[in-house]
Amino acid sequence: MLKFNLSNHLLVGSLVVIVFFVVAPNLVSAYRLELLTIFLINVILAQSYRLMATTGDWTLCHYILMGVGAYATGVLAKMAGLPFYVVMPMACVVTAFVSLLFAIPLSRTLGFAFFIASFALGEFVRHVWLKFHYPFGGARGINGIPKLEIGQGGEWYFIDFWDSQNFYYFTLIFTILALMILFRIDRSRLGNAWKSIYSDRELSESIGIDVAKSRIMVFCVSGFLAGLAGSLLAYQIGSIDPHNFEMVEMVYLIIWCVVGGVKTFWGPLIGVLSMSVVFELTRPLAEWRPALFGLILILFLVLLPGGLETLPARIRAMLNKTSKQREAG
Amino acid sequence: MTVLLELKNTSVFYGKVRATSSVSISVPEGQIITLIGSNGAGKSTTLRMISGLERPQEGDVLFEGQSILSLPPEKITGIGIAHVPEGRRVFSQMTVMENLEMGAYLRSESKEMARNLDLVFSHFPRLKERVGQYAGTMSGGEQQMLAMGRALMSNPKLILMDEPTLGLSPIMCQEIAGIIKEINGNGRTIVLVEQNARLALALAHYGYVLDTGEVVIEGAADKLRENGDIQKTYLGLD
């Protein structure tokens, strides 16, 4: 039998996926392409959320952090008129900074209190957007965010990202970058240290991990990437308002991570992918759709805690058990 | 002599970790049986298994000749097994009276309740003076009395006591020991878990010594007291 090296396996798999995403624009309609772009943004979002979850800190403000990135993009690009290569890094940094402001008080709380307190802080920020017409536009938000372009019309290197296909590739590059960073973190000593916080807080303290500091750091890194997702979103849809970042959206993000699982790097990817497919397939359900997703969330939490990523192991365990029983019986 | 409770080769696991293995114990009606052994030997686990808080992966637990493994813990209380848990576990934000009422949760018919209350107060006159006091504000010894009184309120046939003298002053230990004897004298069977082996063997009729989850020695209490090994290991004598 051929012996597969795991990392080769991964490499080949990743390449296949990347090739698919590179050729995809030629295979699908413009509408589908927009969906694919949103899918990629969601992948960044879910993956950055998973980073938080590896330390055991589930938050309820990740969508708000994405919103911070989006609002920062809106303000910087529209009001300050800055080009995207200045706006995007700044949006990420601003989001990381807001994350820091969140994380400092939050790191004093744990578990459920952490979850709820993060929600309250998020709502605070959302109300800031609602309240301050300048610069956030109040309830109407920011419209007419300048489109993304490189160079100007007529120049040979001009690229207009208003074009769906161009923007799609633009997003794809950032998604791959973000995933590579997150993958490296996941496999690094730092990543393992963070995970150990989840499995045993006291033990990690005793082997010299500064738990509070680590949690704050993870929060900031995760926020940085949520900011990236938000910035891309702002450029893609061109207008944002506080309703884009409501609790409902956060619940969908949780659904992806619950369905896929967060223990492994692949969990959220499986979650976003499967739920995006379900979302598209169930368009005919129209207004019943939220109920379906609610049901999915319940079923997974009750019947398959750990998500789809744990399914193979579960099936294996079940098969083992039955075969053992057969041997015994 | 009829056997009230019988454990047959019971083993309990916490996850994959074995806490007790193949423990067999027989508790005759009307006696005090003691389980002694050092910290972590599996004494509490055994009691918790009897009252249904833990499930044995192997073996069986018979009460009055019937397996009680399928019963949930609240039903096990109902058939006449009361458990005075390790660390007393009184309801600290409830009054003494309320704690006793909780003990009688399944026996709340007012006549029976009054009778049980009288009985408890006869064993523990101190509780009677403090019916309105919050349990959390009482001393350790008083809380222990309350926990025992609460167990008596269900009018049990069998009482499981997990380290009732832990952390108490010598005088209080003596007092509690006297009351255990008294309760047994009224015809109630008791399984007493103690680290204080000397006291336990003085009270009990029969004893089992547990070590890392297994019964290593068993015998009549006075025989065990004379046993050299036990003296060395558990009674601190050389």
């Binding site: 589930w58 008080p105 004093r108 709380t109 578990g111 459920f112 209190a113 979850f115 709820i116 307190a117 929600f119 309250a120 802080l121 709502e123 605070f124 109300h127 800031v128 609602l130 309240k131 609790m247 619940v251 949780i254 659904i255 207004e287 019943w288 939220p290 109920a291 997703f293 609610g294 049901l295 999915i296 969330l297 319940i298 939490l301 009750v302 805690p305 | 009252s51 808080l53 949930p72 813990p73 609240e74 039903k75 209380t77 109902g78 009361a82 458990h83 848990p85 576990r89 309801f91 600290s92 934000q93 409830m94 309320e98 009422e101 909780m102 003990g103 949760y105 399944l106 609460r150 269900s154």
Partner: protein, 289 residues
């Protein structure tokens, strides 16, 4: 600021605090017993409003009876949550909380499909008119809420301190394992807790139905505030929840009078963050149920 404004603000705060108390107490009971955190508590509140809409506006049953009926009807929904969600996820607070988020979606959709999505239902007040206290006009409908809350909360207090099953509920909140050893069934207690929790949310929603816009999504803001309140109050503490409800009711009303409601919400959230930072266990964090 004239006397009338002060009286007006004070009564408004009292009314708002009352309704917050009614909603938050339900959350605190459920959290106190086996840490059931109900994300869909706001949807139970909404269900209470729709009970009044259906029974009072559509069927024509007297308002007060509809309000009273909201208790068992919404309590039943609460018990379904317990059986299908909290019981299987016991021991994992977050899982129960997230799963009830799903249940909230389902309730919203069901109500929306039955009575219209996003459509505001207008419910005529059964008690038109208002009274004047020192120059401030206070409608009877609003005024009703304060005594109703006093009755409900006193009733709850009586139940928890004088009735056997109520005491058992407190015992369970303090030490579930010790409670089980007394013969108290955990499943019955969690069910009872969700019954009360749902009932309180339902009556809250029912009383508010003639006052606020009734839509499938109306519960959200109330749930947010209720969660802030129970956290400020110390999660499982009923006294804490009541005290915090009135504190937040006053903060919200005063800030709304002086500025606007968005600012008021921000101040409320800020207050909660402050409490968490200074005393992570909440105001009454030590005192359970």
């Amino acid at each position: 600021m004239g006397v009338d404004t002060i009286v007006q603000t004070f009564t408004n705060a009292l009314v708002l605090g009352s309704i917050y108390a009614m909603v938050a107490v339900g959350l605190a009971i459920a959290f106190g017993v086996m840490q059931m955190a109900n994300f869909a508590h706001g949807e139970l509140f909404m269900a209470g409003s729709y009970v009044v809409f259906t029974l009072y506006t559509l069927v024509g049953i007297p308002f007060l009876i509809a309000v009273i009926l909201a208790f068992p009807i919404v309590a039943a929904i609460g018990m379904v949550f317990e059986r299908l969600i909290f019981r299987p996820t016991r021991g994992n607070v977050l899982a129960g909380f997230m799963a009830t988020a799903g249940a909230g979606f389902i309730l919203q959709v069901l109500v929306g499909q039955q009575w219209g999505v996003g459509l505001m239902r207008s419910i005529q007040t059964p008690y038109p008119g208002s009274t004047e206290i020192l120059g401030a006009a206070i409608s009877y409908q609003r005024l009703l809420i304060f005594p109703a809350t006093v009755v409900m909360v006193s009733g709850l207090w009586y139940f928890l301190t004088r009735v056997k099953h109520g005491k058992a509920l407190r015992a369970c909140a303090q030490d579930p394992e010790a409670a089980v050893l007394q013969g108290i069934s955990l499943n019955k207690m969690t069910s009872l807790a969700m019954l009360l929790s749902g009932g309180f949310a339902g009556v809250g929603g029912a009383l508010m139905a003639p006052i606020i816009p009734v839509t499938p999504y109306m519960g959200h803001t109330f749930a947010v505030t209720a969660f802030i309140i129970v956290i400020v109050g110390g999660m499982a503490s009923i006294e804490g929840a009541v005290i915090a409800a009135f504190i937040l009711g006053f903060i919200h009303t005063i800030v709304t009078t002086m500025y606007d409601s968005v600012t008021a919400t921000m101040v409320g959230v800020f207050f909660m963050a402050l409490v968490l930072i200074v005393k992570p266990t909440g105001l009454m964090g030590r005192v359970k149920v």
